[in-house]
Symmetry: C2
Subunit: 415 residues, 2 copies
């Protein structure tokens, strides 16, 4: 019998209980031991539940129970989750978490404590919900140098963009619908401003390249400035707009990492990842492109990933899983302004669209014009190749100096 405790009985925590109870027998068979939830930490009370008597409001009931060898953290947020998880690892308890904010902010430190104490710290559910991604990157791709990871990592923004693309709904209307359907929270900023995707790409980057990347090191841009005009230009160009978390190892040994809306070609395997789904592309030198696709959030998908980690923990009490990265290094992340790429630019100026493009072309020689349906007077869209952000911004300033208004600039992806 393996005794565990669950911190937090919210969406994911209650899902963990549900999965453990529903699949009790098959889980015991797979873990080769029965798994019993001895304590559940929550400040609320749930008297109607059959396991109501296992609730506690005091974390010390869990920390000081020597029978509890695995603690599952599903509280979310940095505190008190961090304090509790750290205390568990320092007191001989392995930890499984679904908390991406915690792993993105404190992963290296917690992995180090786990390693010192010969314990497991597992977090498959922190990225991609029920999609297996942490384990495949760390194990299956072990004989492979990963060069790039790019993913649609946030279901809420993907739902909003899908509505904008397919039904020409405006951003605000699509956001309101997402809130109505329970896909977006009342304060949607962590999703729509890109912070959630940023935490996830930090975790994947840390894992794939071996040193911790912190969210504050990553240039992060959400989808609040994406307009239906941009969506139409993407379509005319031959693709769609998706919010992408991307990390790439540069030849100078630094990481080019960012979260931003990007033009994705219709041919890309990420172009058809729609609605609340997530898709993650891992590019390796031996495997080529491997893509993982599925529901990136939700009670049961996330809970099943948590429980799979618990099962793995139970099976490996003596053999620590190899999952590790070092703390971050100075100068590990390439300054955002230096990252090169292709871009779509959307401008407006005096005269008609042909004149607007002619002006743009005089500043960006070789720019390729993109014409959308129903272009308004003086509006022009075009693609420019292989330019750094600082180079782009310099030229956009020049364009504005010459009377054009720059409405938007969006990265064009190369996957």
């Amino acid at each position: 019998m393996a005794e565990i405790a669950v911190l937090g009985h919210g969406v994911v925590g209650s899902g963990v209980l549900e999965v453990l109870l529903t699949h009790r027998e098959s889980i015991a068979r797979r873990a080769k031991e029965e798994i019993e939830v001895k304590h559940i930490l929550d400040l609320r009370e749930f008297p109607q539940l059959e396991y109501a008597n296992r609730f506690t409001k005091d974390f010390n009931d869990i920390l000081q129970d020597p029978e509890v060898r695995i603690v599952v953290e599903c509280m979310g947020g940095l505190e008190p989750a961090f304090t509790f998880v750290k205390a568990c690892l320092e007191n001989g308890k392995s930890v499984v978490t679904s908390n991406k904010e915690l792993v993105a902010a404190k992963g290296a430190l917690l992995l180090e404590i786990a390693q010192k104490n010969n314990l497991n710290f597992l977090f498959e559910a922190s990225v991609g919900g029920g999609i297996p991604i942490i384990r495949p990157i760390s194990q299956c791709l072990a004989a492979n140098e990963v060069s790039e990871i790019a993913g649609i990592l946030n279901g809420t923004t993907n739902f909003i963009l899908t509505k904008m693309i397919r039904e020409h709904m405006g951003f605000q209307e699509a956001l309101a619908l997402a809130q109505e359907l329970g896909y977006a929270e009342r304060d949607p900023s962590a999703d729509v401003e890109g912070a959630d995707a940023c935490r996830k790409i930090c975790i994947l980057a840390s894992l794939a390249f071996g040193s911790h990347v912190y969210p504050q090191q990553v240039h992060t841009q959400g989808i609040t400035k994406i307009t239906l005009e941009d969506v139409a230009y993407a379509e005319a160009w031959g693709g769609v707009i998706k919010l992408i978390g991307e990390v790439k190892m540069l030849e100078n040994g630094r990481l080019a990492i960012q979260v931003a809306p990007m033009f994705i070609s219709r041919e890309s395997q990420l172009a058809n990842v729609d609605d609340v789904f997530n898709g993650i592309l891992v590019r390796g030198d031996a495997t080529g492109d491997v893509v993982f696709y599925g529901k990136g959030a939700g009670k049961l998908p996330t809970a099943s990933a948590v429980v799979a980690d618990v099962i793995d923990c139970v099976k490996h009490f003596k053999a620590r899983k190899y999952l590790f990265w070092e703390d971050g290094k100075p100068d590990y992340v390439e300054p955002f302004a230096s990252i090169p790429g292709d871009f779509f630019v959307h401008v407006k100026s005096q005269g008609d669209s042909a004149e607007a493009f002619a002006l743009a072309e005089s500043v960006f020689p070789g720019a390729v014009r993109i014409i959308r349906r129903d272009e308004s007077l003086g509006e022009a869209g075009f693609a420019v190749k292989a330019i750094s952000i600082s180079g782009l911004e310099e030229k956009l300033a020049e364009l504005e100096g010459r009377g054009a208004k720059v409405l938007n600039q969006i990265k064009i992806s190369d996957f």
Copy 2:
């Protein structure tokens, strides 16, 4: 230092050496031990290679070397691979293989021997080449009841179908091109007749549902009868034709398993898996649909999957990986004739197409007509719902009795 031996220096075997040598340092770091190939078994000689002195033609050099703890089998085919692998497992050596024919025919037996001797028998590379799929199914989805797996499991046939769909190339012409490009062998029957896909769906079914399914239990149909007319009907219906290996748990506890070309809706995540790529959809009660996508074959992708298994083996000399299924059970597979589904039917009869469809409709009330461009005189295509194979064949015989010629019938997928 972990000493290993490699059986077979063909495409995959030489790829394993290449990956081990190219990534020597990072692999040692991940395995926490250096991995050294001590022997390579091959009847040919490779005097120009820097590791030429490690070749042997005598399997006993490997079997009787107590320093070799892991044997990598990349010979392919059932014999002598089976005899060698069995001998290794019976003599205390863990085995990693890329040989789908071996695993599909002898998996349960070899897993049992491995378990008895507390050894690992790993075969990530046997399905999906470099796509991680065996491990995600067995571990990450451990807290999940898998209800269905459907996959594009053979890159050669997918390449041929993609050429037929996109470039309207005929089957023979597309096959010839695949051979020219090295995607198909001179004798392409194992690919185009479905045997390769059959072995892979057997391995996935055995793993996901716990009892061995043997290839001879599985109704297998290739793509040799698919015509450009069928492709055009699929397009008119709203999708594409793909060769699918599918297994589903029925309510009666039996598996509905088959390999067949199917109509796939354009909305399906498998519809855009093109060229030599593979895509595998795993449907679970908690995770929903998870899809794995990537290159399903090729020297380096397959070799990197083999080496990842070797690394896992080295890290788990003492802790056996949990990977197991029992031997097959009688009546475990639903008789093919009883499996229900939706079907596309393509007929030809006297008169014009409307008359041909009217005749079809009199036999299949509720049939939905599908009209392709350039339909020839008397040709009709239609979809019928929820019918067993035996029910379908009975009605098709009736239709033929009434003067129509049945040109083809193709399953319509429900994923």
